[in-house]
């Protein structure tokens, strides 16, 4: 949920300047109150869905299992490929598994927390977004928590398992910095993906059929990151580094941990750039969301 908080936080920070009176709604205090209201709303709605899911425990266990198995097949495909070749662009199977695991856990967390955002376009089309706007709670939080699907932990677990295999199989020269970098990378990566989800949803205010475009960036991006940067063209890698900075989810930090050359010959410190990059993404996504919602409220479509 950390990344959900970051997203709403960025939005709240932006909104404070323009609509100061909005803070009055939450006497707890200013823009801070807005973040708290968002988190509280998220918790209430997600909790409601979890309780409802848990009413059918057997069904829940089965869907988590299915989600785990389906995402697992993904890695089986890579594993099968390595039964034919020893390395992919110079990366061994455990190294690829390391990339895959980092990306899988980050994306899984983002998808678990706010994957529901992609339904925004449909809500705009059928008019049910209006029902969220008449409640005393931030729309972003209501939308993100709607139909909170705990079964999506299956994807996180599968990514974690692959990451575990990689860590066991690899002979990493661990330093305190490398150890610290692991959780920082996972959280930052999740925040970057969350920002992409929010920005994609914001785009759906303008183009209501754009959920496929959003999927190209979220699911497509996650698939891309499962392979090492060397297998892609320079232009692609540049785009994924400087335009949509997905490279900071795993490519750059993994290069540091595995002592490999950086993509695009980036300087060494960029392995630690993920947190500020993630913060920047969330801020931009927050602004895009605010602009999208404002546009909806002026056009009603």
């Amino acid at each position: 949920m950390a990344e959900g908080g970051a997203g709403t936080g960025a939005r709240a920070a932006g909104e404070r300047g323009a609509a100061a009176p909005a803070g009055e709604a939450f006497p707890a205090g200013g823009g801070d109150g807005r973040v708290r209201a968002g988190l509280r709303t998220y918790g209430l709605i997600a909790g409601m869905w979890i309780r409802s899911t848990m009413a059918y425990r057997a069904s829940f266990v089965m869907t988590v299992g299915a989600s785990f198995a389906v995402t697992g097949l993904d890695f089986v495909a890579i594993w099968l490929m390595f039964s034919r070749v020893d390395a992919l662009g110079g990366w061994s199977l455990p190294e690829i598994a390391f990339l895959y695991g980092l990306c899988g856990v980050s994306f899984g967390l983002a998808d678990l927390a706010i994957g529901s955002m992609e339904r925004l376009g449909r809500r705009v089309r059928d008019g049910t977004l209006d029902t969220l706007l008449v409640r005393p709670a931030p729309v972003l939080a209501q939308l993100a928590a709607d139909r909170f699907a705990l079964r999506r932990v299956g994807r996180v677990a599968q990514g974690g398992l692959v990451l575990g295999y990689a860590l066991a199989a690899l002979d990493v020269g661990w330093t305190p910095l490398k150890v610290l970098l692991m959780p920082v990378t996972v959280v930052s990566g999740a925040a970057i993906f969350a920002a992409v989800f929010v920005a994609g949803a914001a785009f759906q205010f303008v183009a209501q059929d754009a959920s496929e475009v959003q999927n190209a960036f979220t699911y497509g991006g996650a698939t891309l990151l499962q392979y090492p940067p060397v297998v892609f063209g320079q232009e692609m890698v540049r785009g994924v580094t400087f335009v949509l900075p997905l490279a900071f989810v795993n490519w750059v930090p993994a290069s540091y941990v595995l002592d490999r050359p950086y993509p695009l010959d980036l300087p060494g410190w960029t392995a630690f750039a993920a947190p500020p990059v993630a913060a920047g993404c969330c801020a931009l996504a927050g602004l895009a969301w605010r602009a999208g919602l404002r546009s909806y409220r002026s056009t009603g479509s």
């Binding site: 209430l44 409601m48 008019g127 404002r294």
Partner: protein, 327 residues
Amino acid sequence: MDSGVDDEGFIRLDGVEKVFDVRKRTGFLRRERREVRAVDGLSFTVARGEMVGYIGPNGAGKSTTVKMLTGILTPSGGTLRVAGIDPARERTRLARRIGVVFGQRTTLWWDLPLIDSYRLAHRMYRIPDARYRENLDRCVALLDLGALLDVPVRQLSLGQRMRGDIAAALLHDPEVLYLDEPTIGLDVVSKARVRGFLRDLNAERGTTVLLTTHDLTDIEQLCSRVMVIDHGRLMYDGPLAGLHEAGESERTLVVDLERELPPIDAPAPARVVRVEGPRQWLAFPASASAADLVARVAAAYPLVDLSVREPDIEAVIGRMYAERAGA
């Protein structure tokens, strides 16, 4: 609570406008832009505790007005206040004080049991426990929701869902209730139940109610005041009886005679407007008594059957609009 909010102008609109930029695709990439004034200089006030019917043809600007009053849409011009609050700027603060029922779209959580929507409202609106219990019990009893609380919303019939929606809008004791077509598609029994409930709510709690509807009976039974909007402008504001006069609305008496006869020689101002075999249509002013006309026709002609048709709201407004354009 808010100083400076007078009860007379509890809802206050002053020259409110809403202009949409409509883009129509005319070619692969070419688009035509057109400005649509959905609401065009609308001014009115509603006093605290009033129950007002807000009617007009489709596309007249009713929904746009309600969306601006709830803060969903930002007005393009003019000022608008509800309980002293500017809805567009302080949407979430206003949300605690208003209740909204959209006839076509439910505010309930579609796949979850009805009670879950209420429990969530309890927490989300921070309704004190005792108050929540009391309001829920009252709604469950009066709207007959007891057997429905554990049923997923998607399995409810339209009438059941509407009752569920009305209850959801009232748990936090809103001062204003907006109802958009609350009786659309309901059967006669459900309609009567919903109307009775709204009447009691207004009388006992003093809740201000703004009701948009196509059903004149809703207005007749509930509202002492009716506002008619067309092309984004207020065409009429006053009692329902006055609306019939202003629109020169007419009721229709349909009579089936024993056999084909020449047009009935009806007492003025009633007149035959259509003859089809043994069936004839007589138009007469909505304000006149039907009983008198029926008695006089029955005395002189061999009647088999008859029925009285109420004036159609669209027709009334249409006539009113034509008149104003001609003047």
